[in-house]
């Protein structure tokens, strides 16, 4: 057997202790933690605190559900897709068409029908597409989603095209709960569906199958080498995720009572991706935080100006990718881990080694920032007057201020960037 000198660790008693701790960790990991009640408590509290915002609340719940389905394939299995809207759309149109063309208006059976149709679409497309990875897969998922969109557009006599199918009618949930003007029934209905599906997804994630998915994400070559049927696993999870996205789409149609072809748009795929990334991938609750934060920000900022909001998403994405790749939840976890885990799972934070910092690089960054500031300053002066920023957009001198501000801002960003680079170098950024 291996020599005794292979480990300088503790003796037999210590080893038994370590063994016990390790086993306990895995044995307990899937159990519910008190903190996991938090999102549900907030959701229920929201029902009482904002009774007149329940239509918006339902949209948040629908997007959470959609983001969870994406998390299953992106966060756990590592499948990068730009066409997840396809399954959302298939679900949305299943109940929409069933109601408008077939008179099938019972909501819960509608959800099941949507799940089955979307699962079918997921299984067929997944079986063909999931042989590929990387850019090819990206393009195939994108093209497939648009192809379905164009099919719907082609047969706009059935689907209603971009005008959609307004004024859809659905029966009361369980035949008892009538829809009300403020969407309170819808909210509780969506919350119940979300809870049921979430429980299901949580089981999957902590199952051996879920473990195998993370294995595929972490290292597909090794998965092949240990005899894992990778393609079968991927198609399975893709089908499940498609079904869940389909349920989310069906809920979307039912709670809005209308549906248009925009549900298939690239925008829909991109939006859910941004939400998930913002919240954090591969950790279930990232979908909750991401969708809620995104939609609440959108709700407030786009009232101010849709243009600002769009610029805001861009910046959010940039900052998330460069500095907080694990999303809001990742940041929260890092903060929490420092306190509670006592180094049992050691986090290697990004650090700046000041002596290694290349000041020339930061100077270059400041130069870039100055260029940006200069451009913005000129553009602002050429452009328009704005009450809030009148000095910055009318005084020629303000160009200098823009330039300086740009230089300072980008220099600051660059120093922050070093943290990121350091993290990649030490390999402590997940995936």
């Amino acid at each position: 057997m291996a020599g005794n000198d292979i480990s300088s660790g503790p003796g037999n008693a210590g080893r038994a202790q370590a063994r016990h701790e390790a086993a306990e960790f895995l044995l307990r990991r899937h159990r519910f933690r008190p903190a996991e009640a938090l999102p549900w408590l907030i959701a229920i509290a929201a029902f009482f605190v904002f009774p007149d915002r329940m239509t918006f609340g339902s949209q948040v719940l629908v997007m959470i559900l959609f983001a969870i389905s994406l998390d299953l394939i992106l966060g756990y299995a590592g499948i990068v897709t730009l066409g997840h809207a396809a399954f959302f759309g298939v679900g949305a149109y299943t109940v929409g068409l069933a109601s408008a063309r077939l008179g099938w208006t019972e909501p819960i059976s509608g959800l099941f029908a949507a799940a089955i149709m979307a699962a079918l679409a997921g299984f067929i497309s997944g079986w063909f597409l999931l042989r590929y990875r990387g850019l090819t897969l990206l393009m195939l998922t994108l093209a497939t989603a648009i192809m379905i969109l164009e099919t719907g557009n082609f047969r706009s006599d059935i689907t209603g095209g971009y005008d959609g199918m307004p004024g859809l009618v659905f029966q009361p949930v369980l035949g008892m709960f009538e829809y009300d003007l403020y969407g309170r029934t819808n909210y509780l209905y969506a919350l119940a569906v979300l809870a049921v599906v979430f429980f299901f997804v949580r089981r999957i994630v902590y199952s051996p199958f879920g473990q195998a998915l993370t294995g595929i994400r972490e290292n597909v070559r090794r998965m092949h080498a240990i005899g894992s049927p990778v393609h079968r696993r991927l198609v399975t999870v893709y089908t499940i995720a498609a079904a869940i996205a389909g349920v989310a789409g069906a809920l979307f149609t039912q709670t809005n009572a209308y549906v248009t072809l925009t549900v298939f748009d690239f925008d829909t795929s991109a939006k859910v991706l941004v939400m998930l990334i913002l919240g954090g991938t591969g950790r279930l609750y990232g979908a909750f935080i991401g969708a809620a934060v995104y939609l609440i920000l959108e709700d407030h900022l786009s009232k101010l100006s849709p243009t600002f909001w769009q610029f805001g998403i861009g910046i959010l994405l940039l900052v998330t990718v460069l500095f907080a790749r694990r999303g809001i939840l990742g940041v929260i976890e890092d903060l929490g881990r420092f306190r509670s885990w006592k180094g049992r799972i050691r986090m290697v934070p990004g650090r700046i080694v000041w002596s290694n910092v290349q000041w020339k690089g930061i100077g270059m960054a400041a130069f870039d920032g100055a260029l940006i500031g200069l451009a913005v300053g000129f553009a602002a002066n050429v452009g328009r007057t704005n009450l809030l920023w009148s000095w910055f957009v009318t005084e020629p001198l303000s160009v200098l201020a823009w330039t300086a501000a740009g230089a300072a801002l980008v220099a600051a960003i660059n120093i922050g960037y070093l943290v990121y680079a350091e993290r990649s170098a030490t390999g402590s950024t997940p995936r």
């Binding site: 393009m139 192809m147 164009e150 769009q310 610029f311 910046i315 994405l317 050429v382 680079a421």
Partner: protein, 290 residues
């Protein structure tokens, strides 16, 4: 019968003009994606920026159309260098997801910024006299602008082909696309090569953006509206292949135009069907490395 021939000629002519626009705009994307495997969803934003520079130069500064195209392309090419060095470079080794997110973010910011300064209303551009109206080729009259686009496109194909196949730098690019590590080990400065290629590609995109104003009108959403098409041209043609990009642009340009002439309701349906079929059969595209 003559009517069928007329329609066929129209499809061919419009399809060719469309294909040339696709080729000019997408070729830079193809080479940079082939060289660095970088998924640049902000490529359309560079094209859009080029378009708006042309609008500003012609309308606010009175520069003529052709000179504006050249100035805008050079300007965007130079600006793109800073983007490449600053934002793209650190993510070359990251996964395609990070690249997608970063560049989508950039595209969103560009759309918002240009909406802020130029507004959401479509812009047009004043054309010189010699590009207006139709040119009569005996059996049928064709719009001069589209004819110009075809001629310019063919000219650029020739220039790029020469640059790619016959010059030293072209040989280096091909070597680096083929096998980056090998190219580095024989002393090719791939980093610099990529910056240069990226700048040229972005400059060409800006040219495409400027040329597209007359065809489609220019709004800030140009940055994402045609992006999917560029990506499809690149993927179907094969990353880093000039010939592939041209073939794919021709195929998709003509098929799309034919689809719109013959079955208007189908929209872009056919090109997506073709894309999926081609990629399933040849995942690396027509001329890509397997």
């Amino acid at each position: 019968m003559p009517q069928v021939a007329t329609i066929a000629v129209s499809i061919l002519f419009d399809g060719l003009a469309y294909a040339m626009f696709l080729f000019i705009t997408a070729v830079g994307l193809s080479v940079t994606m082939g060289l660095m495997n970088f998924v640049n969803l902000a490529h359309g934003a560079f094209a859009m920026a080029g378009g708006y520079f042309v609008v500003s130069l012609t309308q606010s500064y009175g520069v003529d159309f052709i000179s504006s195209l050249i100035i805008a392309s050079v300007l965007v090419g130079l600006i793109s260098i800073r983007f490449e060095r600053r934002l793209y470079r650190p993510l070359y080794k990251a996964g395609e997801l990070d690249q997608v997110l970063l560049t989508i973010g950039l595209a969103f910011m560009a759309i918002a910024a240009f909406t802020f300064f130029y507004g959401p209303i479509p812009k047009s551009v004043p054309l010189p006299q010699w590009l207006q109206g139709n040119v009569d080729l005996g059996f049928r009259a064709f719009p001069r602008y589209r004819a110009f686009l075809i001629v310019l496109g063919l000219f650029l194909v020739a220039v790029l082909w020469y640059g790619f196949e016959r010059t030293n730098i072209g040989a280096r690019i091909r070597a680096a696309v083929d096998n980056r590590r090998m190219a580095e080990s024989v002393g090719i400065n791939v980093d610099l090569l990529f910056t240069v290629t990226f700048a040229i590609g972005s400059g060409l995109a800006a040219l495409g953006g400027g040329l597209a104003i007359q065809l489609f009108g220019l709004t800030p959403y140009f940055a994402v509206l045609y992006l999917v098409l560029f990506l499809i041209v690149v993927a179907v043609g094969g990353l880093g292949s000039l010939k592939g990009t041209l073939m794919a642009a021709l195929l998709l340009g003509i098929v799309d135009t034919a689809g719109k002439y013959l079955i208007a309701e189908a929209g872009g349906f056919f090109i997506y069907v073709i894309t999926v079929i081609v990629l399933l059969l040849k995942p690396a595209g027509f001329y890509g490395r397997q």
